[in-house]
């Protein structure tokens, strides 16, 4: 693309973003400050405790367990979170269950009961107050939509009977698909680009990748909350080809000529993305950051975190 064409593209994007932002209106009020906790061990460090206190974190979306298809082709819980710390009294926990899409390719009518029973028992055992809500995270597609929605409907009936609400994560591409039968959705404003491409410098969050989806937002028939990214990835490339994301220094062999590229959303991009999705009244009433890893809660200044949370 020539410089001229590139300039036109940028201008078009900027105009589009401005139009979107101009179309949004807001009565600035204090939003609910929330965090995702996405690990196999729940333990609150001093830094995390301080973050919770300082930024008035009132909700933690805590991943309780995954649901997978195991080696015996059975649908089973996996990577259950081990509680090493008590949940701070000041915060409400919303148990979150990640279901791999493959599970939805199998008929399992008892899955809603199994999940709800396990979530409630986990809460009771680990002294988590009776949850008011449960969240389901699943990267469902059109091919699994029917079974996933049936599952959610059944689970919704069960949570309703217990006086609980049910929420589900919504990926950007899912905005174009039918609305899942839940009380509310959490819009995941991240993982917008292709991490395997060396030339995609902002795979976690690039406002220009969000822009095409914004048109679906105003009419999306589900109450929404935004989830913004704090996390970063170290991505290993060899000979220009993607090798993997390095979760630890020795996860992959690093040899001469390899490139390790840090991918992390910058403050400007987070704020721009936030402004883009906040064209809906409801979406910023609660702001969830992903996730409560020590590195993620120390990347920015306190003021910057406040700016992200501000509505």
């Amino acid at each position: 693309m020539s410089m001229k064409k590139s300039g036109i593209a940028c201008l078009t994007l900027t105009v589009a973003v401005l139009i979107i932002i101009a179309g949004c209106h807001s009565d600035r009020v204090e939003s609910v400050h929330s965090l995702y906790y996405w690990s196999t061990v729940f333990t609150i460090s001093d830094q995390q405790k301080a973050f919770i206190d300082h930024h008035n974190i009132s909700r933690i979306y805590l991943r309780y367990f995954d649901v997978v298809v195991d080696s015996h082709d059975e649908v089973m819980p996996n990577a259950t979170c081990v509680f090493k710390s008590r949940v701070p009294d000041s915060t409400e926990v919303i148990p979150t269950v990640f279901i791999v899409n493959e599970v939805m390719r199998r008929q399992n009518d008892s899955l809603p009961e199994l999940i709800l029973r396990r979530v409630l028992q986990m809460s009771e055992t680990n002294l988590v107050p009776m949850p008011k809500e449960i969240q389901i995270d699943c990267d469902w597609t059109q091919s699994t939509q029917q079974r996933y929605f049936e599952f959610l409907s059944h689970l919704h009936e069960l949570t309703d009977a217990k006086g609980m609400t049910l929420s589900a994560t919504i990926r950007l591409h899912q905005l174009a698909l039918p609305v899942p039968p839940v009380d509310r959705g959490v819009l995941m404003v991240y993982n917008t680009g292709d991490v395997t491409r060396l030339d995609v410098s902002k795979p976690i969050l690039d406002p220009k990748d969000i822009a095409p989806y914004i048109k679906w937002l105003p009419d999306y028939q589900l109450s929404l909350t935004e989830a913004l990214p704090l996390f970063s990835w170290k991505v290993l490339f060899r000979g220009g080809k993607y090798v993997g994301i390095m979760h630890s220094a020795d996860e992959y062999p690093v040899i001469e000529g390899d490139s390790i590229v840090l991918r992390q959303p910058c403050m400007d991009d987070i704020m721009q993305a936030k402004r883009m999705v906040e064209c809906r009244d409801d979406i910023a009433r609660e702001i969830i950051l992903f996730d409560m890893n020590n590195n993620n809660i120390t990347r920015f200044t306190d003021n910057e975190y406040e700016e992200i949370y501000h509505y």
Binding site: P77, N78, T80, L114, T125, N126, L127, D250, P253, V254
Partner: protein, 710 residues
């Protein structure tokens, strides 16, 4: 004859096939590279299991089944210890049972424990650890030490285990239990960030499962380069090198099966060549203590890259390099394969391969041993698999190409040893038997003489020396194959030798007598499923081999036929043709000349077999018959015989009716088309005859008339 009858026959043939081998695929392309021995018995490598079996006085049952799962058997151990007044063992087994029960509870299930259960679990594990550490005796010292480390491991007390190993457990006497403790120590290292050290222990212990998991992202050339850079003699390297070489073999094998994406294959080839370059630099650098490992890897990759000559030289060099004895052995076995690709069988090669097969046989005995009820012993390890690969993928094709049938049979027989199988199983999925069905009866006779008299080449003598020879098997096989060749005089003496007891145990025995071979199949179908089902449940006995009775019948008819003249000779030709067809693999009484039948069978073009002999007799009858009745019958019979396809059928969508329609496309050049046409012409020329009436009801003739308007 009508279409429905054809369909019924086909269906019944399908039903009949349940006793015959379906298409079967036996793998011979075993991995050529193997850095570790991975062939252990069911639980022979688990000292915990053998210890408890000995304590309980367990012996393998007659079927060789002696699976022992400690977690389900601890109550038996506790009871046995009580009966023996062995309080020390009873106390230990009780603690172990508690630990095993908790491990069971800790697996991820839909039932999440209550707070009380979690607390109880934690208390129990702590108590087990305390009890284990408090043991002061000597008899169970290592067992209690292992139990202590296990209890800590499930509580994720990695630092405690690291300290315990370095200060105490590592100083205990060497034993499999100590190896297990070191494995738990490796687990603690892995979970506290010391992956490299953990992998060294896994590799050293041959714990491939743990190692594969720990280095899952190092299983590539970059990983090999990285680990080599850290330590040129890392115990992890043999695993990674083996993994690399065998993964490339998988690529090659699957590519041969399904070529797929050429670019992917080119990338993989380049990757393999990059490895070869790197491995050469490793050897040149001289830091490795096992150049044989790298050289063998190079040789095997060269072989898979399509250069067996270069591979042979490389592997020959690897055989004398430094490294483990196993590595040099692996190089030698791979070299035998490579050389067999490069040389056509001659005396020199035969001496070479004889030596290599003898050597491979000596290397088989440290594999997994399987003892069969009939006393046969079988071993399985890398070297038995290499012998299999060498024989099936190199030697059999090579000797087939050279026309040395007896050597091919000896190679296959050496593996299948069919004569030792129970009689009823003799004719199932077995490469040796399949080969016997393909070759002339005289070749089988030659081979039988060879194994009986111990003659043949030194290679053939070696391969057949230990074979058990079942004379009934060979007499029946040779006699039956001669029947199939319509050589009744040669068949008779062989079939006479077969004991009727052997006949009764044949897999096809229940079929004998199910149909009558004198019946003209073009006029009458003979159902037999009920008969066969009933016979399967009976204790069968035979006064005479049914194949011999058929043979005598044909000999008598041929004798009469040779002396007969005119219409009588013509009638005998028709009778012989009918019976020969019935006994052929296309006939209703196929069991007279075969051990099985498949719906996939088609006419064996160019074979001088009983089917073609039947055709000749029936053709003679059709040409020489002087009566309309016999001529009509003979022409009808010829039109019935599936010598080739006379029509192509296909279902195609008809847009007008919106339905799938059966479309015919006749093949006028086919022999069968001509036979049907001849029969049709005959009945058209002779209206009002019984044959014309039959033809008017025959679906094949109807179809023929519709398609040809004749």
């Amino acid at each position: 004859m009508n279409m429905k009858r054809f369909t019924i026959i086909s269906l019944l043939m399908c039903l009949c096939t349940n006793m015959f081998p379906c298409a079967y695929e036996v793998i011979h392309n075993y991995y050529m590279f193997s850095a570790y021995n991975k062939d252990f018995g069911e639980d022979a490598d688990d000292p915990l299991v053998t210890f408890w079996k000995d304590y309980l006085g367990w012996e393998a049952d007659p079927g060789g089944y002696n699976y022992f799962e400690p977690k389900y058997k601890m109550d038996e151990v506790i009871e046995a210890a009580g009966k023996k007044h062995d309080d020390e063992m009873k106390a230990y087994a009780t603690q172990l049972k508690r630990y095993l029960d908790i491990c069971d509870e800790m697996s991820e299930t839909w039932n999440y424990p209550t707070r009380e259960q979690l607390q109880q679990r934690s208390v129990t594990l702590s108590n087990i650890a305390v009890a284990a550490k408090a043991y002061k005796g000597s008899r169970l010292r290592s067992r209690y030490a292992l139990l202590y480390m296990r209890a800590n491991m499930v509580q994720k007390k990695y630092d405690v285990n690291k300290t315990y190993w370095t200060t105490y457990a590592s100083k205990l006497e060497d034993s499999p239990l100590k190896d297990m403790m070191e494995g738990i120590y490796a687990n603690a290292l892995l979970n506290t960030g010391a992956k490299k050290a953990a992998c060294e222990i896994y590799a050293k212990q041959g714990d491939m499962q743990s190692l594969a998991w720990a280095v899952q992202k190092y299983r590539n050339l970059a990983g090999i380069k990285y680990i080599y850079g850290q330590n040129p003699n890392s115990h992890t390297l043999p695993f990674l090198v083996e993994d690399f070489v065998n993964t490339y073999q998988d690529v090659i094998d699957s590519y041969e099966f399904d070529p797929g994406d050429e670019k992917t294959k080119a990338d993989q080839d380049k990757n393999a060549r990059d490895f070869v370059n790197f491995a050469n630099s490793v050897i040149k650098e001289g830091k490795t203590k096992s150049p044989a490992l790298w050289k063998t890897a190079i040789g095997v990759l060269q072989f898979h890259l399509g250069n067996p000559r270069q591979a042979e030289q490389t592997l020959l060099a690897a055989m004398s390099m430094d490294g483990t004895e196993r590595m040099r052995d692996v190089a030698r076995a791979a070299r035998a394969v490579a050389r067999s690709y490069n040389v056509l069988p001659n005396d020199d090669f035969e001496q070479f391969i004889l030596g290599e097969l003898q050597w491979l046989d000596t290397k088989c005995h440290d594999g997994i041993k399987t003892e069969y009820a009939n006393g046969t012993v079988e071993y399985t390890n890398h070297f038995t698999r290499m012998k299999d690969r060498l024989s099936y993928l190199c030697l059999v094709p090579s000797y087939e190409k050279a026309g040395k049938t007896t050597t091919v049979l000896a190679l296959l027989d050496n593996f299948c040893n069919s004569s030792q199988l129970p009689t009823a199983e003799l004719y199932y999925s077995n490469d040796f038997i399949s080969k016997l069905r393909e070759i002339p009866a005289s070749d089988i006779e030659t081979y039988y003489q060879l194994i009986q008299q111990g003659t043949g080449s030194s290679l053939e003598r070696y391969l057949t020396a230990k074979l058990h020879v079942n004379h009934d098997f060979y007499a029946d096989m040779i006699g039956t194959r001669y029947l199939d060749e319509a050589n009744f005089d040669m068949a008779e003496p062989w079939l006479k030798k077969v004991h009727t007891g052997f006949v009764a145990r044949l897999g096809v025995a229940p079929w004998f007598g199910a149909r009558d071979y004198v019946v003209e199949p073009w006029f009458r179908y003979q159902p037999c499923s009920e008969y066969v089902s009933r016979r399967y449940g009976e204790n069968l006995t035979f006064d005479q081999h049914p194949r011999l009775a058929f043979c005598h019948d044909m000999q008598n008819l041929i004798s009469q036929y040779k002396q007969a003249k005119g219409e009588q000779r013509c009638q005998l030709a028709y009778t012989l043709g009918t019976r020969a067809f019935q006994a052929s693999y296309m006939g209703q009484c196929w069991w007279l000349t075969a051990y099985g039948q498949s719906t996939m069978d088609s006419v064996r073009v160019g074979r001088n077999d009983i089917f073609h002999r039947a055709f000749d007799w029936l053709q003679e009858a059709s040409k020489t018959a002087s009566t309309l009745r016999l001529k009509g019958k003979a022409l009808c019979a010829l039109s019935f015989m599936p010598v080739d396809d006379w029509v192509d059928t296909d279902y195609s969508y008809d847009s007008k009716s919106g339905e799938f329609m059966l479309k015919y496309s006749v093949i006028p050049s086919s022999a069968r088309f001509k036979n049907i046409a001849a029969f049709n012409d005959f009945v058209n020329a002779n209206p009002g005859t019984a044959m014309a009436d039959f033809a008017s009801r025959c679906d094949v003739i109807k179809t023929f008339r519709q398609q040809t308007r004749r």
